[in-house]
């Protein structure tokens, strides 16, 4: 009996401690968020960017924080990093009107006149850019629930409308499951990267002395192919490929 009481008290103590730690962390995050917002309002954009970055490192990575971080970088004159953060925010909240407005505005400021394609996956399955991965998960959970509820009902009753209902539910379930898989691939295998330097030479090989093929400017989006040592082979279009130093660009993938 005594042992049981001790065990119960221990469990209660541990649970209480965890809750207190969690609350303390939440309060700490709220403080950092408040501090970041204040710094941004007061024009200290570098401080604001550091605070938003700290929140993301603390595990609060979401579209709003990436959006705020992008704004802070843009205000501090780092267009490349601003576009990078906006692209990350776009993966998390693709329909946010503020984000779309700011991203288009900052992209308009770029020097390189290049038209960005959506990629084969996104242009073929056009609805992939309408929702983020979390929303696709939720839609799939709902479809999953509907399909298996219909199947369970069929075990107990079999009215004439049940087979077409199950076929329709199975079709929708398959389409949503496929979309989830494609979205997951799109997010986790995103090979886009953003040029962070004001001006960057693209070389014919992974060495300093190699021929300069063409020149890119801050904010331009390129596609990473492979990495060798501190060099990355990038592709801009079918006839524009070359090597750049790894620190000159940063991948959009989070």
């Amino acid at each position: 009996m005594r042992r049981t009481v001790i065990a119960i008290l221990s469990v209660v103590f541990i649970a209480f401690s965890l809750a207190v730690i969690g609350l303390a962390q939440d309060h700490s995050a709220e403080e950092v968020f408040y501090r970041a917002n204040q710094a941004y309002k007061q024009g200290d954009f570098t401080q604001a960017a550091q605070a938003y970055g700290q929140l993301i490192e603390m595990g609060y990575a979401n579209g709003h924080l990436y959006y705020n971080l992008g704004n802070s970088f843009f205000r501090s004159g780092q267009e490349g990093k601003a576009i990078l953060m906006y692209e990350r925010a776009y993966l998390l909240m693709p329909r946010d009107a503020d984000l779309l407005f700011n991203m288009n505005y900052v992209k308009d400021q770029r020097v390189d006149a290049l038209q960005e394609g959506q990629g084969v996956l996104a242009s073929t399955f056009f609805w992939l850019n309408s929702l983020n991965l979390a929303e696709f998960y939720r839609v799939f959970v709902i479809c999953n629930l509907l399909l298996f509820t219909a199947l369970i009902l069929r075990l107990f009753m079999n009215p004439s409308w049940m087979p077409p209902l199950i076929i329709t539910a199975a079709f929708v379930w398959s389409a949503v499951a496929g979309s989830v898989a494609m979205k997951w691939y799109q997010v986790n295998f995103d090979d886009r990267a953003v040029v962070l330097e004001k001006e960057m030479d693209v070389l014919s090989g992974p060495q300093e002395g190699d021929t300069v093929l063409f020149r890119l400017h801050e904010g331009t989006i390129v596609y990473e192919e492979r990495t060798e040592d501190q060099w990355v082979l990038i592709q801009l279009s079918a006839d524009k490929r070359g090597w750049v130093r790894a620190e000159s660009i940063e991948g959009v993938r989070m």
Binding site: N62, Y137, F148
Partner: protein, 594 residues
């Protein structure tokens, strides 16, 4: 059909009028279409020749009306032989075109560059003049002392010493004084030397060593990839040669076609040619030299040069010339502040000429200014090695100016609205953009958690994904277990049916009604049936369906028939000694069940 006063049918008069109208319309159409394509052209079959060659000159007249022979200027240093006229009439899309070609063969007297034309004709008191063409005449090679042959093949190159990537002209001429046919050509194959055919073969007449020959000329462009000394082996041409008849008696047919005998196969080979290809000089070579060799020029234009803000202009840069035209580089336009530039795909057009390939590369950019004002489009440059002047040259475009005026606002059109509603509404104006900036941060505390965009945690998500199929699997298992239990219960009950029957029969002697009742109870329990009355046939069918042998089935049917006989003959209450027999039959049947 009704007739008029003269007795002629009216309908025919109407047809005649309609025909006359159509004829007049056709004549007007023909005359208008003839006058629509008035022109006089002058052309030569080639642009280069030697003093030994004759060149075919054609003056084409597409002017309606009667004309005399054309008067051609610039041919005083030529021997001229008329080659006849030909007239061609064509109907294309309802339009008639007539063209008369006057053909002449001209042979230059001395070398030089000649500008031939224009040709002038006077028709109906009006003078029509043609274009002029240029003919480059070189001195014919000295063939004196060589014994003239009836057929031979001769090869020439435009230069014996040239630079890497500099195009050369390889000329192959078949001289013949006999009829030949079934021609086939084998060109020499040399690595690092690329042959490209220049246009169609030419046929003309030329004088060689005092003899008149028909000449078939083929031209090729040669480009050397690397420096060195090359030997172009002789090209060989196979053919069938038709010898003239040697018989003194003339054929009854005087046609030249019958003056040649049947042909003999022959093969002719040209002489080998030595070539020396030297590398391009290093002195004066630009750092960004793109291996372009030849003669080129560049031009640029902005169209339109003045636009309103929000509109776009097009910058066109044209690089054209002769040489290794496929090496013409893609020009990169330097960045222009406050102007967005969208490059179009460059277009390269090449055309073969007597002096090699000429080409034009057209590059276009769409210019979208981001502000009002005047923008200077910087010049672009191209380097190449000028093989005619033996030096590197840089050519560049002139800087272009693009003027961007304030946006033109369309005049408000209120008349239509007033007409529709009867009352003019407020004058509409376009929403004007006065400034550009980004939108502010998201500072709400709920934005920290991500709100709707938050990704579900792993366990939570998988729980919702796996729970429905697990629930379905559990329900299906329960249903299956329930069904199996029901079946097992029935089986247990059916196996107990015989025990019940035996128990009922052994305790006492039973009458026919009781035995039938006991049998019915056995069948219903054993086979999960709900029979009211069990007939012998039914009992036999039920047993047979369960795999019981024919004999056992007949025994059961006989026994049941006896019981039924007893009942229906008034002996239903009488005790019978059939219980043990029935027990034996049923035990036997139980053993035989499948």
């Amino acid at each position: 059909m009704r007739a008029d006063a003269q007795g002629r049918p009216r309908a025919r008069t109407g047809d005649m009028k309609r025909f006359a109208f159509l004829l007049a319309a056709f004549m007007m159409l023909v005359s208008s279409s003839l006058s629509a394509a008035d022109e006089v052209t002058l052309s030569l079959d080639r642009t280069e020749a030697t003093t030994a060659d004759s060149v075919k000159m054609t003056v084409g007249i597409s002017v309606s009306g009667h004309s005399g022979s054309p008067v051609i200027q610039g041919i005083t240093d030529f021997h001229i032989s008329p080659g006849g006229t030909s007239t061609n009439i064509e109907f294309v899309n309802g339009r008639m075109s007539k063209r008369t070609d006057y053909i002449y063969y001209i042979q230059p007297v001395k070398p030089g560059t000649y500008h031939i034309g224009p040709a002038e004709v006077r028709i109906g008191g009006r003078a029509y003049r043609s274009n002029t063409v240029e003919l480059l005449v070189s001195k014919a090679s000295d063939a004196a002392g060589q014994p003239p042959e009836q057929v031979f093949l001769k090869a020439e190159v435009s230069k014996k010493r040239s630079y890497v990537q500099e195009p050369l002209i390889y000329l192959l001429k078949l001289y013949r004084r006999l009829e030949v046919g079934n021609l086939s050509l084998n060109l020499p194959e040399i690595s690092d030397l690329n042959f490209r055919k220049l246009g169609d073969p030419l046929e003309y007449q030329s004088n060689y060593a005092g003899q008149q020959y028909n000449v078939l000329e083929l031209r090729y462009e040669i480009v050397a990839e690397h420096a060195g000394k090359y030997t172009i082996e002789g090209a060989s041409m196979g053919m069938t040669v038709y010898e003239p008849r040697t018989s003194r008696t003339r054929s009854p047919f005087s046609d030249p076609f019958f003056m040649f005998s049947s042909g003999r196969p022959a093969k002719f080979t040209s002489d080998a040619i030595e070539l020396e290809i030297v590398p391009l000089p290093t002195e004066g070579r630009p750092d960004d030299f793109s291996s372009l060799v030849g003669t080129y020029e560049i031009a640029s234009s902005v169209e339109p040069a003045g636009i309103a803000w929000g509109e776009s202009a097009s910058l066109t840069v044209t690089l054209s010339g002769a040489g290794n035209v496929t090496c013409m580089p893609d020009i990169e336009l330097p960045g222009i502040k406050q102007v967005k530039v969208y490059a179009d795909q460059p277009v390269l057009e090449t055309r073969p000429t007597a002096r090699g390939f000429e080409g034009t590369k057209t590059m276009k950019w769409a210019l979208v200014p981001q502000a009002e004002g005047t923008f200077v489009i910087p010049s672009v440059k191209v380097n190449f090695f000028d093989s005619a002047q033996d030096r590197y040259r840089t050519i560049s475009t002139e800087p272009q100016v693009l003027t961007v005026s304030p946006r033109l606002e369309p005049a408000p059109d209120t008349a239509g609205d007033a007409g529709l509603s009867g009352k003019a509404g407020p004058v509409k104006s376009r929403v004007e953009e006065l400034g550009r900036d980004i939108l502010p941060n998201h500072t709400s505390m709920k934005d920290l958690s991500g709100g709707l965009y938050r990704t579900p945690k792993g366990m939570f998500f998988w729980l919702w994904v796996l729970l429905p199929p697990l629930a379905y699997a559990a329900a299906a298992l329960v249903m299956r277990f329930h069904k199996r239990s029901h079946e097992q219960l029935s089986r247990i009950r059916s196996r107990g049916a015989l025990k019940v029957f035996v128990k009922r029969c052994r305790h006492k002697e039973m009458n026919a009604v009781e035995l039938i009742d006991a049998l019915e109870e056995y069948f219903n329990s054993r086979f999960v049936l709900s029979l009211g009355t069990l007939t012998p046939d039914e009992a036999g069918k039920i047993l047979k369906k369960r795999g019981v042998s024919q004999d056992t089935c007949l025994e059961m049917m006989d026994a049941l028939a006896m019981l039924h006989d007893a009942v229906y003959t008034g002996r239903g209450e009488k005790r019978l000694d059939l219980g043990d027999d029935l027990v034996r039959i049923l035990k036997k049947a139980e053993k035989e069940f499948g």
